[in-house]
């Protein structure tokens, strides 16, 4: 337990050692620690962001799916409508064609009927004239009585 110059030597060595540590050892290690802390912080932030992004992406995917489904439904609806329209149109056209045909047939029948009536009327007039000729052989001159016969024919109409 004797004090001597060792004490002074120790003071000097101590100060040198401390300054060495402060200058050459401490800064790089603390820098590495801080950098690692930053890295970890960045990593955690990135992970959080990725999580949020994933949620957003999932939401967007859902949205897109919904839209696609909606538009598919729209397409189907309009296609059905269009098909129905086409069918309707075809039906209408068919009905029109049928009606036209019926009309044409009717008018033709009418014409034929008219002609037949006319023929019949002509024949009846001829028969009447012939009958009247038989009866009035002498008195009736076809030429003189043509107007009379025409009137008769007219009345038979």
């Amino acid at each position: 337990m004797n004090l001597n110059a060792t004490l002074i030597a120790q003071v000097v060595v101590f100060l040198i050692f401390v300054l060495f540590t402060k200058k050459f050892v401490w800064p790089p290690i603390v820098k590495a620690l801080d950098e690692r802390a930053d890295k970890i912080k960045e990593g955690l932030t990135a992970a959080d962001k990725a999580k949020t992004d994933l949620v957003l992406a999932e939401k967007r995917v859902g949205e897109e799916l919904r839209k696609a489904r909606e538009s598919a439904a729209n397409v189907r609806g309009s296609a059905e409508k269009q098909a129905a329209g086409i069918v309707e149109e075809a039906r209408a056209e068919a009905a029109k064609i049928v009606a036209d045909a019926r009309k044409a047939a009717e008018s033709e029948a009418q014409t034929v009927l008219q002609r037949v009536k006319e023929d019949l009327r002509g024949q009846v007039a001829a028969l009447a004239v012939a009958g009247a000729e038989q009866i009035l052989r002498r008195e009736i001159d076809a030429k003189a009585h043509a107007e009379l016969l025409a009137n008769l024919k007219q009345e038979l109409n």
């Binding site: 004090l3 001597n4 120790q10 050692f17 540590t21 050892v25 401490w26």
Partner: protein
Amino acid sequence: MSAEHAAAQQGVTSGEYIAHHLTYFNSIGGKQQAIIDWSVINYDSVFFSIALAVIASLVMWLVARRASAGIPGRVQGAVEMLVEMVIDQTKGVIHSAESRKFVAPLGLTIFIWVFLMNAMDFLPVDLLPNIWRGIYGAAGHDAHHAYLRAVPTADINITMGMSLTVLLICLYYNVKIKGIGGWAHELVTAPFGTSKNPVVAVILGFVNFAMQLIEFVSKTISHGMRLFGNMFAGELLFMLIALMGAAWTGANVPSVLFFIGDLVAALAWAIFHILVVALQAFIFMMLTLVYIGQAHEGH
């Protein structure tokens, strides 16, 4: 058969063995007589203290040079753990970030260095002295005067040197933080305060100043003596345990019992000493931080 008796048969008494082990390898080649003699220097303490400082510096410097923010290796991890521990402790005691830039490396230096110097105790108590005896004898000197003490912190010069340095740093921070005037004011007004009555104020000033002096002196002495006392006692106990082994007189029952006793006691004390070594290093560092922290705060 007593240890003393056995040792005596080998030509050295227990007392001589202990005394030999407690003598420094110094510049006068024997025991220093005066309590304080600045012309004497203990080569062994200075050598081991510097050697351990150099080893610690080199290891830490290598780690620091290759330190990366990536995944640390084991050595880097160990140093980083120490650094983090010191940073945590420093933050708790010193609130000035500017001061921490110096005080935290100071704490790390103290912890590692004191730990290593304390850990010299784990070397077998006769190992280095015997090697030294061989070298000293081979160099043509009297091997009986080959003194060597391997534990620097069991030398009061080393511990008081460190605690004195800490005191100087405390004084520096007292002046730096409070200014010369502020600190001088604190010296005469704390801890008992002052008075409006000039006579009482002067008396209180003297009392306060005396208290401050006592505080600084007692802090410094207890700081150095605590570490010295622990390590000196540890070293001494290792020597006493070694005496049991030295009682070997041949393959007889007492010798074997002493031998076993030596092994058991040395093992037990070494294991317990792991705690002492680490704890004293930590305490020395913590007290340094606390004292410097006190220098930052007014009473």
